[in-house]
Subunit: 390 residues, 4 copies
Amino acid sequence: MLRFSTAGESHGESLVAMVSGMPAGVPVDLEFVNRELWRRQKGYGRGGRMRIERDTAHVLSGVRHGKTIGSPIAMTLANNDWKNWTEILPVEEGDPEKHKAVASPRPGHADLAGALKYDFKDARYVLERASARESAARVASGAFAKLLLKELGVGVASHVIRVGKAELSRPATWDEIVALQAKDEVLLNCVDPESEAAMKAEVDAVLRTGDTIGGVFEVVVHGLPPGVGTHTNWDERMDGLLAQAVMSLQAVKAVEIGRGVTAAESLGSTVHDSIGYEGEGGFTKFSREQNNAGGIEGGISNGEDIVVRGYLKPISTLRRPLGSVSFETREPVKAAYERSDVCVVPAAGVAAEAMVALAVARLVIEKFGGDSLRELQRNFNGYCEQIRAY
Amino acid sequence: MLRFSTAGESHGESLVAMVSGMPAGVPVDLEFVNRELWRRQKGYGRGGRMRIERDTAHVLSGVRHGKTIGSPIAMTLANNDWKNWTEILPVEEGDPEKHKAVASPRPGHADLAGALKYDFKDARYVLERASARESAARVASGAFAKLLLKELGVGVASHVIRVGKAELSRPATWDEIVALQAKDEVLLNCVDPESEAAMKAEVDAVLRTGDTIGGVFEVVVHGLPPGVGTHTNWDERMDGLLAQAVMSLQAVKAVEIGRGVTAAESLGSTVHDSIGYEGEGGFTKFSREQNNAGGIEGGISNGEDIVVRGYLKPISTLRRPLGSVSFETREPVKAAYERSDVCVVPAAGVAAEAMVALAVARLVIEKFGGDSLRELQRNFNGYCEQIRAY
Amino acid sequence: MLRFSTAGESHGESLVAMVSGMPAGVPVDLEFVNRELWRRQKGYGRGGRMRIERDTAHVLSGVRHGKTIGSPIAMTLANNDWKNWTEILPVEEGDPEKHKAVASPRPGHADLAGALKYDFKDARYVLERASARESAARVASGAFAKLLLKELGVGVASHVIRVGKAELSRPATWDEIVALQAKDEVLLNCVDPESEAAMKAEVDAVLRTGDTIGGVFEVVVHGLPPGVGTHTNWDERMDGLLAQAVMSLQAVKAVEIGRGVTAAESLGSTVHDSIGYEGEGGFTKFSREQNNAGGIEGGISNGEDIVVRGYLKPISTLRRPLGSVSFETREPVKAAYERSDVCVVPAAGVAAEAMVALAVARLVIEKFGGDSLRELQRNFNGYCEQIRAY
Amino acid sequence: MLRFSTAGESHGESLVAMVSGMPAGVPVDLEFVNRELWRRQKGYGRGGRMRIERDTAHVLSGVRHGKTIGSPIAMTLANNDWKNWTEILPVEEGDPEKHKAVASPRPGHADLAGALKYDFKDARYVLERASARESAARVASGAFAKLLLKELGVGVASHVIRVGKAELSRPATWDEIVALQAKDEVLLNCVDPESEAAMKAEVDAVLRTGDTIGGVFEVVVHGLPPGVGTHTNWDERMDGLLAQAVMSLQAVKAVEIGRGVTAAESLGSTVHDSIGYEGEGGFTKFSREQNNAGGIEGGISNGEDIVVRGYLKPISTLRRPLGSVSFETREPVKAAYERSDVCVVPAAGVAAEAMVALAVARLVIEKFGGDSLRELQRNFNGYCEQIRAY
């Protein structure tokens, strides 16, 4: 089974990512992995930290001679700022005087709930783990899932469809979305320049006012055959697994599959995707003229593009802080401020690509089995032939 | 660990629900369990089948002398219509002539993807398991989770906030929402009579036209202390687990926590819930004046009401069927029609209550431990004292 | 993923077994399932209850027209004695007077530890679930795993190699072991009549003295290709999974793979199975002249027969009871006595076959994937060709 | 939930261990962790590599200011020999000429089965992960479990009871076993000097002949209250979990709980541990005069010492190698030889302590809950009072 986990504090020595269950023999392009990490760090509206960091995955295991070997893949992502934190946040007891408490909980963060839960006097330890910096380790893990899926012809990409009130004004094609990944500069990761300009204006506005802003990203999985995921058990449905994967990302507060939000106010006759039989070149000849279902029916992929949207709340850390309470005095204070971003929708989209890729790769491995890439591909191709002849 | 699973085909002899990991000593009110099942069957816009069925949970194990005994709870929910299906859908080989194929896949259902995946010649076996009838077994399981949570003072309830284009026009209080459960007649499970009338008009419209309609339900968890769920691992966050739980329900295509959808277009200064210290009578004195976060920050409950919304697409089975293709001839046909509903938003809300209760109860049991209700309550109370004194 | 769970109290209305993750299209021979249940009930040394019961699996779901359909399989195994227990052990509150307490904990059983853990005043509820009767539900589940494995040419069988001090005096062949399953009368499930007579004498001795006796059974998996299970993660190794599966059976206190117990006192040069290249007709040409490893090296099947032994302690319930203490008075008493067996080694072997079959089938499904039997077989055959050409 | 995983190849840059689910606030003594690693490296009969290595856990996360913080703990264990392997085993493609193939599979190892499974041309990648070096990462993980258990008064220790044919000649007390951990020199980790001398003679014999030897270790858990683990679900029983934990260790081929092996040939009247009521100073007044059950009845701890034995086959790598076959020519050759040990029973005992500690800590956390050590201890103490008053 494909499993992954992460460890690491935001200002600790490094993040750690572990991925197990990858078949052996998958070619590993480390530049691609690092490019993914770079993509997560970019976007208009990022704060100062993104200038300090330049994330790189240092692979410790599971890859040899440029290929996976079936063993767990472990990576570290060093924190370039660690030298400034060794006395503040040492593993050893250290000097209590050097401790840098987060003296008041920041609304929108795990600070207060976490301090109560874990019985901490301040929110430092909570912040360190709850920080979205952790998503870098997810991106590194997801890069491996993408490398695997690529070998089966399955692609995963994201784009931004809203920042604040500025929305993408037209549908995007797969080719447009995937082309965004090649760009040397990430602005707001939007396929349409005019819409992107409007999005940028939204960010500029909050930069001026010390506020923050959220938005909506869309992740698309292209080239996945019908039949991945299952309707038979609630906890093996692809829709539920994708919802968990994306909702578990920092700041995501809603997840939508296909046209899920608007479907709730539409008529059945317009929502559902009628079935035809003209699908030349597809996995089967069964065809659709629209994809409101976002590629999933009954918890199973149906052969159309998988479309998942994440709704991102505005960044919780504001330069103009919100009202809070001092942990020590219990008097009203402004919430603590740690250097932060004002808009991270493109980056969240990159992290969501990783989560979606991991969830889909897990289901692909479950369906097709195989301990080597060769075995997986043989099984995959056998199934594709089976359904083509259906 | 609290685990649950379901089995059973829609027209099979019975559904089966299994719940394990419940502490011993929880009083079991079977009338309550059956009342929950009744609630799932009701609502304006249900089809003929709801008149045939009157679901009852028959407990086979795990409950003795009116209390849980720590052992797995197994229940069957008999299908009253089974007598008409014994020859159509026998466990044994039976007479192939009596088989009742679903000759064309219905758009919006698992039919086509499932038939390809499992290599079935028609969609009968897929339909039987993918049907929302399965959610009755979830409701029976969830009733046990609710019985447990009740002993800790935690309540779970739902209401409908949209049907088609008709929306609830005002906020609802917890007391209003919970009062809906006591009503003898379920219309659209809306706290506001005028809004409900508008919702009913939406249903009446589709009843006339042979169309179907969806909507939005909201599940609220009341009385849960801060500190349930965790930010430390992506797959243990409460937000992700709730998203999976609700998205895994039939016809749910989007899940929102708190004001997740509108937060994506709002400013950080208005979205986040400032922290005060006036919370007399609460779990702690920390207080909030609004709850846009829906009671979850950083994947952890923060002591406010947990608020989860599910967006339901319109029922996929239309009396005026959508375009499809014959499995046999591959010619265009109208999709198969099996007796169905036109609006199920209230029922989906009841099923979502069950899923939310199960997810929350699982996290509660993980946090507080305890093999008997007495032990669980002692641990729970100890923690409540700890955070009160924080 | 293949998962299974059981529910049910020993004297409750029925046991329940649930198996999910079976591919679709596997032919289901219900007589075979019931034959397996019959085998578990037989053997020399069984008590009176085995004469009351005649276990039959009543399939409620997951099988239609004689084949699996990919959905969870649920079964009930009715308790024929339930009519005598409805007032003693009702689901509802019932009449406390009718309760039949287990007034003193029986050494060797979960009675005391369970009563303390779950905060019960007596051991009734513990006994009801901890009873080895539960293993009937495992046998029914395992029968499905066997049906699946059979389609891939993999067989699972057991035999008894020791009862008390009487040991099987010679090696057994696969054909001999598998032939035992066809016998109409189960004595001690031993391949050698003379050894079996000695075993019977051991049972006769304890029958006379009111004592009980244990022994050792051996489960063999035949026809499994090399490469099932993995060395890469501790919790995915086949040896660990088999050890858990068998040790979790009631009364099993040691598990051995291959010649594990004697290997610990032998020299490396005699223990390890040298590798040759004469294996005509096998999965590969690599060959072995002995199988001390029990078919598993490094947590992976190596193509030889998988051999797992379970060491069974004597039945804990003695007709001549052991010393115990009254729950009520805390005075010394003789342990409670519920009708029981004196020797169950053959039955435990049958239950262990089920557990081993379930564990192996899980790993097989993980390695080969496939949602239909056709897909699984295609993948399986593809791999067999791959290693034949290695 | 307490979870742990490891990564890393034997000759890679470093091993990685990850432990999640530890409560916050547990004091972390890094010297203790490293001492545990030292203990795993010691013992009479170890090879040259143990002289190169001096394992140290480098903690990257989850511990701050000398205490756990509730977040996942990640550690690396650097391989001091890595500098000699960077060209042989690079992560990147590297120079194929530098590759150091394992040209023939070694009997007793995963080599052949792993190469077939993962479609490798030789056994290098299999050996690298299947090597018992991986158990160092388990020991580092287990050290954290021990630190947690220590705070609850629960100790875990091991000793050697057999090497080859030399057996410990008398019972060992808990104090004797635990005292072994403090010794500055590990010989064969036996509590009795005379027995240890006999064990040493066994090792000396195989050192002379180029052979290898195994043995039996015993792990004891002391101070665990009754009621940990459960009889209610097969996969939550403590006996099964311990069996998996220990059997998953490299070279373990049998696992025994209490007197499991000899119980199988003994009478019930002598095997089972009668219950008295004299237990002053214990968790309850219920008492036992013997502990053949090894502290587990019905899958639940019963308050006596947990006793688990592992049977270790002789090391599979012999200086005088076994017969094998060349991967390339398929001609008979002697098996490949990599520098190795001749006896590792004490070290395997240390690794088994770690596995047992992790399994027990997981069940303890499940039963008692708690996110901070303070909360866990309060819950634990509350339960201890409950059962004392039973």
